[in-house]
Assembly symmetry: C2
């Protein structure tokens, strides 16, 4: 089943454009009133073309419950900024070399400037959320801040789980271990928070709209969709066209990143293959041999680990779709509501 490519492309494109305009306004103001060179560094990642998935989900959720693009503009922009702050630090932590088709920020500006740039990007995002007070009122502004605090907390906890695996060289993981980590690290800030923030922005005002049930359904939907997204993102890293994808092919293997595919291989491959793979995975990146990385990638394909990962992703997609079908009011059936459903398939089908 293919997704509605035109609809998905349109909503993603409009979201990118809206956020880009808001970011240009913000950076121009900060350059004028603050220490300019800092904001030159900060502006790097946000203006490299990303998918804009998070802002698009936020806008669509807002309009899907009857809100306007303007109501979600600052929040969607803040989400994009938090995402960029997270990537900036994540790239230092994982010693990643490529991001959105270019060198990572720390490779261009050094580790100290990159850590500080990530911190500064978080501050910009917080400022954006505080600006919501004027347009959305204090109640919604505070609800949104609470939601973002939860999102950030889940992300750092997920990150801590993954970093502990790396530091202690843990590779014997089950799918459940992986899902617990990715729920925190990926699902919250990629799908759950964008959905919930959008609904808070767009919902009718007043204390008679507590939204608790809807927000709980969106947590479930975002959980399932987020896992499907992350597995497919990791599959792209293994099989994608680097020119489209913007990262090096097999970069995750160089980094030893735990993915559903890799932990499947370690769990189920013949002993000799597992031993050879673990030797490679425990070798520090600069000492890894390219032919060994190629061997691992090919063996994972032959062994069926990539097919296995795709199957797990499809199962999570099906669960997400079931939750999506049960969503009722305050959602109305419009293009934005349809985008949220099509987006579930898009994250499975996408090639970049």
């Amino acid at each position: 089943m293919a997704h509605d490519e035109a609809l998905v492309a349109r909503v993603l494109g409009e979201a990118r454009e809206a956020v880009r305009g808001e970011l240009e306004r913000l950076f121009a103001e900060r350059r004028r009133t603050g220490y300019g060179p800092l904001y030159d560094v900060l502006a790097d990642y946000p203006f490299r073309e990303g998918k804009g998935l998070r802002p698009a989900i936020c806008f669509a959720a807002c309009r899907g419950v009857g809100g306007t693009t303007a109501q979600a503009l600052r929040t969607a922009t803040a989400l994009e900024l938090f995402h960029n702050a997270f990537l900036t630090h994540d790239d230092v932590e994982d010693v990643s070399e490529f991001r959105r088709g270019g060198a990572t920020l720390f490779q261009e500006h050094g580790v100290p400037a990159a850590i500080n740039a990530g911190d500064a990007t978080n501050v910009l995002a917080l400022g954006m959320l505080l600006d919501n007070v004027a347009s959305l009122g204090v109640r919604k502004a505070l609800l949104l801040l609470r939601e973002v605090e939860r999102m950030a907390r889940e992300s750092v906890e997920g990150q801590a789980m993954e970093l502990a695996w790396i530091r202690r060289e843990v590779f014997d993981l089950t799918d459940d271990d992986y899902v617990r980590m990715a729920y925190k690290k990926t699902c919250w800030y990629t799908v759950i928070a964008p959905l919930r923030l959008g609904v808070i922005c767009g919902a009718p005002p007043g204390p008679d709209a507590p939204l608790d049930d809807e927000l709980l359904s969106l947590l479930e939907l975002g959980h399932f969709a987020g896992i499907a997204f992350q597995i497919c993102d990791d599959l792209l890293n293994l099989e994608g066209d680097p020119a489209l994808y913007g990262k090096e092919q097999g970069g995750d293997l160089w980094e030893g990143k735990r993915t559903v595919m890799l932990v499947h291989f370690v769990r189920t491959a013949p002993d000799a293959d597992r031993t050879r793979a673990l030797d490679l995975l425990r070798t520090p990146r600069p000492l890894k041999r390219a032919d060994e990385v190629r061997w691992l990638r090919e063996r994972m394909i032959e062994h069926g680990s990539l097919a296995y990962g795709r199957g797990v992703a499809e199962a999570f997609y099906a669960r997400a779709l079931a939750v999506d079908r049960a969503l009722g009011p305050p959602f109305v059936e419009n293009d934005d509501r349809r985008f949220l459903r099509e987006m579930l398939r898009y994250v499975i089908d996408r090639i970049k």
Copy 2:
């Protein structure tokens, strides 16, 4: 002129104790409901004995305008957490080895875990500030968040200025250059924000108390006091007893940190000394020779650079005192108000 040591020690001690209790409650809750190992790492710096200067200023400012300790408890704790987050990242950025009498966090747990721990500490602080809604109401809670956003923005801009000097090997700096940087990097989160946050917490509620004039005076007071504090902190690094001070003696020279004393020496020392000093300062830390670092420290003392720095600090102290004397309502004359004045002298006199 000596400060009232008993009063300062009492207010600092009570502040440390109050914040420690709140932190213990917070960490116990997060360990129970979140990913425990992350919070074990996070709890490291906050439970090493610091001065507790920032929370003490915040509590004193709150009670100095008629508020209670309880009104400022979450905000003072959040300040301590933001401070710890900043130190955690700052130590990675400066490759510092010692902090509060122990190894720095990144040396114990690695750079990735340290970056993530700093991020997570910021999230905890944000959560604390959001908890203010229940006790202080939405208006004050949002004012406090705005203030913290400004504080964090100034800090990352100051940090960016300093990092640019390091990366571009800039040493020809005036005192004004230094003061502009330290105003952002140090004054805001060490004195200005603690004062202003405390006053917001403690001030009478209601829209009839806009506080704008008072907050402006506190910005001036905190600016002058913060510069005096930072210069004396840097003097302690050069002359302090490492056993009391908790950092290595001359560690700033190993790191090439720009201080009023160092930039004075570079600006005014005879050519041969300046050349030798710049050679040393441009040498990466692991390649620096201990005898050369000792030489520089001794030449700075002989040349009068430390005495010069102390003079600049005294001048800023005098300016802070003049602003302090002009402060009127909503401040009342009580022990907390007296602490804020004594604290100005304390930061000059302290030996650890």
